[in-house]
């Protein structure tokens, strides 16, 4: 709170990026965690909330550009761009300074996740963290088995402090081999298992670059690779994939690092992949975002800007590398060792995209979460540095995880039926990687997270996503389709890569297509399911009533009061409706009753199921009213009598 210089400014204008004339006027509030813009022009309150941790930069533009006051540009990490015009120059300055301080916390303790306290008790919170377990994921892959074992070498992070404590290594790799190999690898990140293909025993392993320099060798490292090779009994070779461009790898040799020499290792095949480093990626994304922010780009501005940014080229490079690996594993049955420099950026990207290609499980909601947990979080992708969670070196920041999510999105565009989740799922994950609302992405590695007590103090994103999974389901998902079984074979021709407007232009409402087919489909499907359920319950009810028909109708009393009460009850959805329907007169009931006899209802719901047309909403309300009624025990007797009467007359 002490950083807030000015908690509230009135008469602030929020400019619309697409149509600058349509600006909105309201009040700007600064709170400890959010910037809130409340617009209350035409009686309708409209609020815009921006989390401080999502603010990537705040700039004040020269006051001459906007005559009505000083202008403040707020760039967010989720690609939202807000332009406020604040009448008073001084206010603007205050807001600028406060926001700058608030958006760049100096220590982890200031992060939002430690302040985020939803109404959940401690036990429940603990259960959130148990939602995903890597152990069961390895078990799903079929591990441990005779070829791969769980290693305790890194139990207390003594071999590599950026690796997780639980690692799978080849059965033949002894502890001295592991330790020796880790000494020969940058930051001690020795070769270890990332994905195991149960079908043909081929595995995807990951490590960091070897410290080979120009001529250095390490016997243990060579033994380690030999063990990887022998863990796959059918193959005679291991691919070693260096995801860097060759030039970068050679340059690293001068620093005593480098890449494996094919002569020193037995039966390896070495391959460079040419994915650029984090600095190139950062600049590329910056250039692309500049294109996105163009006011009204012409065709050539947009296409040329996009190409010059090189962003899609980099995405293609990642996907190419992943396709290479998945082909090697799935088609050739050859194990692959992937590394880059440190083995936490490009390696994470490539391994996880390859896993998505290889295993249908990773294309489901749960599988995708566990994939991120495994290949990114546990293997030490430096989230806090890359996403700039706390104020740090700007050179460490890079959109590596963005690229991964975009790769998956590009795949989902190519294979719309192969993914259980939709675009919104990816965008939500992207949002929370940067938002710091959940503890999952805080810190740079597992050791750091344990020291911060993440699991004891924060909430987990995964269970949050799971509980909202209805929003993230892809209506087109067909798990048993021939195309979606087994490995995906994407095309990586340049025309297959599209600009992801859904993410980068997410907040510019005017830019998006006005109709989302997917949403339409989802709504229709939900509607259909609901109707089918109701149909089933009605059918059940009717068959039950058919049995009682004759017995009850003889004793049925045809008093008018019964007629007045019951139809209205059918319309009632809530307890309030129930009470009010006793108060209101019976005239409406008389009008409504003819439409609502059960055979009619069944007829309409049948029709609706067939057409699943847009105009189902009205009648489904009526029907859910009936469904409610059957659940309401006190009045159910009236209901049965009435519908029985109708059935009787129909007969």
């Amino acid at each position: 709170m002490e950083h807030i210089r000015l908690p509230k400014v009135e008469q602030v204008k929020l400019l619309d990026q697409v149509a600058p004339r349509k600006s909105r006027v309201g009040t700007l509030y600064l709170t400890a965690t959010h910037t809130i813009f409340v617009e209350s022009e035409d009686g309708q309150r409209h609020e815009t909330w921006v989390l401080h941790s999502l603010v990537s930069s705040v700039e004040k533009q020269s006051p001459s550009s906007s005559p009505s006051g000083a202008s403040l540009m707020v760039h967010c990490k989720n690609f939202q761009l807000l332009q406020f015009v604040i009448p008073e120059e001084q206010d603007c300055q205050d807001i600028l300074l406060s926001l700058r301080r608030l958006s760049q916390p100096e220590s982890y303790e200031e992060l939002y996740c430690f302040a985020y306290k939803p109404n959940v008790d401690e036990e429940e919170r603990q259960r959130e963290w148990d939602f995903l377990s890597l152990t069961s994921e390895y078990k799903r892959m079929g591990l441990p088995n005779p070829h791969w074992k769980l290693s305790s070498a890194n139990q207390h992070y003594e071999v590599s402090d950026t690796y997780p404590s639980e690692l799978f290594i080849p059965e033949l790799a002894t502890l001295p081999v592991v330790v020796g190999s880790s000494k020969f690898r940058s930051r001690g990140r020795f070769p270890t298992l990332s994905y195991y293909n149960r079908g043909n025993h081929a595995a995807v392993c990951r490590s960091s670059q070897p410290l080979s320099g120009f001529s250095a060798r390490c016997l243990e490292d060579e033994q380690m690779l030999g063990a990887v090779l022998r863990s796959n009994p059918r193959s005679e070779v291991v691919y070693v994939v260096d995801t860097r461009p060759k030039l970068n790898a050679i340059a690293n040799r001068a620093a005593g690092k480098g890449y494996e020499n094919e002569d020193n290792y037995s039966n390896i095949k070495f391959q460079f992949m040419g994915i650029e480093n984090i600095h190139v990626m950062r600049n590329s994304q910056q250039k692309m975002l500049e294109v996105c922010e163009l006011r009204s780009p012409s065709m050539s501005d947009f296409l040329e800007g996009l190409e010059n940014s090189g962003w899609l080229k980099h995405i293609k490079a990642v996907l190419d590398a992943a396709a290479f690996i998945s082909k090697a594993v799935a088609e050739e049955g050859v194990s692959v060792l992937v590394h880059c420099s440190d083995g936490w950026d490009r390696t994470s990207q490539v391994c996880s995209v390859a896993s998505v290609l290889l295993d249908p499980h990773y294309r489901t909601l749960g599988g995708f979460m566990v994939l991120i947990e495994k290949d990114w979080i546990s293997f030490g992708h430096k989230f806090s540095h890359r996403c700039n969670h706390v104020d740090g070196d700007p050179k460490e920041v890079s959109p590596i995880i963005d690229q991964f999510l975009e790769c998956v999105w590009q795949l989902s565009e190519q294979f719309p039926c192969a993914f259980e989740f939709n675009e919104r799922f990816l965008i939500t994950i992207h949002h929370h990687v940067y938002s710091c609302q959940f503890g999952n992405f805080i810190g740079n590695n597992q050791k750091e997270r344990e020291q911060l007590g993440i699991q004891k103090r924060t909430h987990s994103l995964w269970s949050y996503l799971w509980s909202n999974r209805a929003d993230f389901i892809n209506p087109l998902y067909r798990p048993n389709h021939s195309q979606t079984l087994g490995a995906l074979r994407p095309s990586t021709a340049p025309h297959c890569f599209k600009f992801w407007g859904g993410l980068y232009n997410r907040f510019e409402r005017g830019v998006h297509p006005r109709q989302s087919v997917e949403d339409c489909l989802r709504a229709i499907r939900e509607e259909t399911e609901q109707l089918e359920e109701q149909l089933a319950s009605h059918k059940q009810k009717i068959s039950k009533l058919e049995g009682q028909k004759w017995t009850v109708s003889n004793i049925f009393d045809k008093s008018p009061t019964a007629w007045i009460f019951t139809p209205d009850l059918r319309l009632a959805n809530t307890p309030q409706d129930y009470t009010s329907c006793f108060l209101t007169s019976g005239t409406r009931a008389a009008e409504d009753s003819p439409d609502l006899t059960p055979p009619d209802l069944n007829q309409t719901s049948n029709d609706l199921n067939q057409t699943s047309s847009f105009n189902t909403s009205n009648s489904s309300d009526h029907e859910s009213g009936v469904a409610d009624l059957s659940a309401q025990s006190p009045f159910s007797e009236d209901g049965t009598r009435d519908s029985d009467e109708a059935a009787n007359s129909a007969a």
């Binding site: 697409v18 190409e307 090189g310 088609e331 021709a493 005017g510 830019v511 989302s516 847009f614």
Partner: protein, 863 residues
Amino acid sequence: MLSGSKNTFKVRQMEPMLKERMLSQSGASARSRDILGLRCLPGECVLQRVPMVRKKLTSREGRGWLSGTLFCTHFRVAFVPQDTPEQLDNADPVLLGDHDVALAAIEKVVVVGPNRTKQVSASSSLKFTPEELLLFCRDMRVVCLLFDRLTPDAHVLQMTYTIAKTYQPLKPGSVLAFQNAALGSVEMKQFLSNRSRDPHMNWFETAQDWNQELERCGAVGWRVSAVNERFEMATSLSRFVVVPQRVLDTELKKTFAHFSEGRIPRWSWRHPRGADLLRMSSFQNNIYHEKDDIRNLELVLFGGHSSLCVVVELGEELPSTLDIHLSHSRLRALCLGDVSSSMTVPDDKWLSSLESTHWLHHTRACLRKASEVCCLLRSGHMTVALQEAEDRDMGCLVSSLVQVMCDPHSRTQRGFQSLLQKEWVTAGHRFYSRLNYHRDCDKDESPVFLLFLDCVWQLWAQFPSRFQLTEDFLLALHDSLHLPLFSTFLANSQRERLKSSQHVGQSYTRVEGWRDVPLELEDLCDPPLPPVWDWDLQYSKERQASFTQPIPSPTPPQPLLNGNLNTGTDTLRMADTIPGSVFLLSRGSFSCPPQLPPWRSSLSSSVYRKSHRRALSSEHVPGLERLLKAWALADFPHTLTSHSGPQGPLDPYEPLLPLLMGPCLGLWRQCYLRGAIHAQAFSHPLSSPQPHPVERLSRQVQQLRTQLSQVPVPKEPCSPETPMGLQRDLNQNANNSTFLFPAARSSKTPSPQQSSRPAAGPQQSSRPAAGPQQSSRPAAGPQQSSRPAAGPQQSSRPAAGPQQSSRPAAGPQQSSRPAAGPQQSSPQRSHKHTFLFRASSPGRRRSTAPEAQSQSCRPHTAS
């Protein structure tokens, strides 16, 4: 005998270079024609046939590969998948199956051999055996066919040469031959003449059609004039024009001279809010405007509204026909790649090369212009006249685009077809010259209509649920455009179209004279050409089903007769404006140049002032500009409802104004990139769903073997008809047959499911046919490892044996095939072939053979 004479009849119609070939083939083709399930058109001949070909499916069709049989007839290259369900024999002929390509649609033929790629023409000879055949089509499809390595080289070469020789590079004259190949036969002519027109769409050919349209739009104050019924006034216009009621025909006749090519302002559509859309060509300046004419000219121009007319000049901001042509050919080159580079990945300049085609730029310009017009129309009572120099290209495009945006009826399939009929076909778009089927008017070629389809697709992509028609329909239309078969596209104006159809009627008697007349193309008369809208002729019912959305969209309310939907707040009241103001909309701003209608400047101003109370003023120009601005700023209700699923009740006539910013327009990938064959990560079939025939055979042999091993007593009667001798043979072969299996398979345990196979007996009896040959080749290595690694394709095949050994193994299959015909009388024997040719679904073979014979008799008896 009948079939033989039928063939000679056929050959006469063929081009001479094919005649010889046909004769030598006639015996074989007559019998084998239907064996593998190709349903020929009446009079169609199979020239060449290769079984076990795999066709690459596009991503739209579900990727992967489809195996089947490839045919080349003198009309098309047909591909019949293995498991095609049987069709009704009495079904109407469909010109092209789902996997077929008409010869006229093929642009070039490229073969891919081991490490080589070569374009094949009629005269070229190949020095290698093709493994893959690529057919580049004019409609931007690329059909990729993969020959089986068991197919003898000679067959592959023959097929390649046949296709190369018969596909017709477009040149003057070749189109006619193609039309005759498709529709020239007597049955086809009869069939076509008996087809009825689609009664659900408006053809705009009679006065009644136009009246119906006037009624549909609720347009009052207009009438249909038959002044051009015999094309005397304007040759390029339709027979009927819609003009203001107040103008008499005698007066109207005088106005034609004042417009270029006599394309006077005429009504095309009325917006439900009461504004009328007119089209006209440019004013004729060099003519003296008589006083009497002026009143008529103005009446015609102002239509029903005396108040305000906005002339939208289409020449300036829209691409010229030459621009479109250049742009489209660049786009083609980009999307298809040329032959030399077709196998290499294009460089990373994809986006900038896309930009440099300017295709999206042109699309955007058209959409922008149409959006502007929509905004004018929705504002209420005025006349918007689209003016283009010739009024035969962009006028068609913009006026129809405006209607697609504004009129829900135009977004249904029938409505869209009617729209095209109204704005393009009868309005005299020069399809014939623009599409340049004959390659005889290169300077006029320009795919204006394709640009229009792209614009509609852009709208569809942004508002999919507001359309009843689908992308598939647009694609089908796009593809038909490249087929020179339809009267719709084979004429420059309605006059030419009618003329050619009459011509056919007169010369129909000459059909019988064919045989005596030397084979000169000029003497072959035009067959009666069907309109493109007869989709039954082109596509199967299944494909047509995808032309429209499965979900019925809410029916639009009937337009108000008086056209008064002026309930919106943003509409301008035009009633109090000065009568007779004419404004020019150009580059997004309005102006009123004094000489806009030439007669005004040519006259003394006094005359002009007499007819109008006040001089022209531009005082409500700002009001008009506001209309356009409102469009730029408008936040339409559907932006908000887009996230809430199905559309709520909207004003159905609210125009679909597309977003035109750079990221919002996309490339029509499903159309232009259908055939993208740039090298892909996995381009060859690795695990095709259909096992290789040899593998399947070996699997069945394996199954039989396990079944045999389960038989406890040798005397077990597995089938009463099976002779014992055969069984003994079988036992002998069982020892050797392991050569057929991969090692992994032979180690499998016997599966118990075998005993449930009902057809076990006859199957076994067929074994000896294949057995001895296989056992006589001891050199056959059991595994793939024995073959020298022959590139990715070889290693990727899941098949069992190496190439050398498996070729002879297929021998019995092929040698026994010609014998299939005469043996069909014996049920048991045909069962044998059932086993061998499971791939070719023999049930159909048997049932269609007699039918084919009876069909083949017909031409003879008829003539």
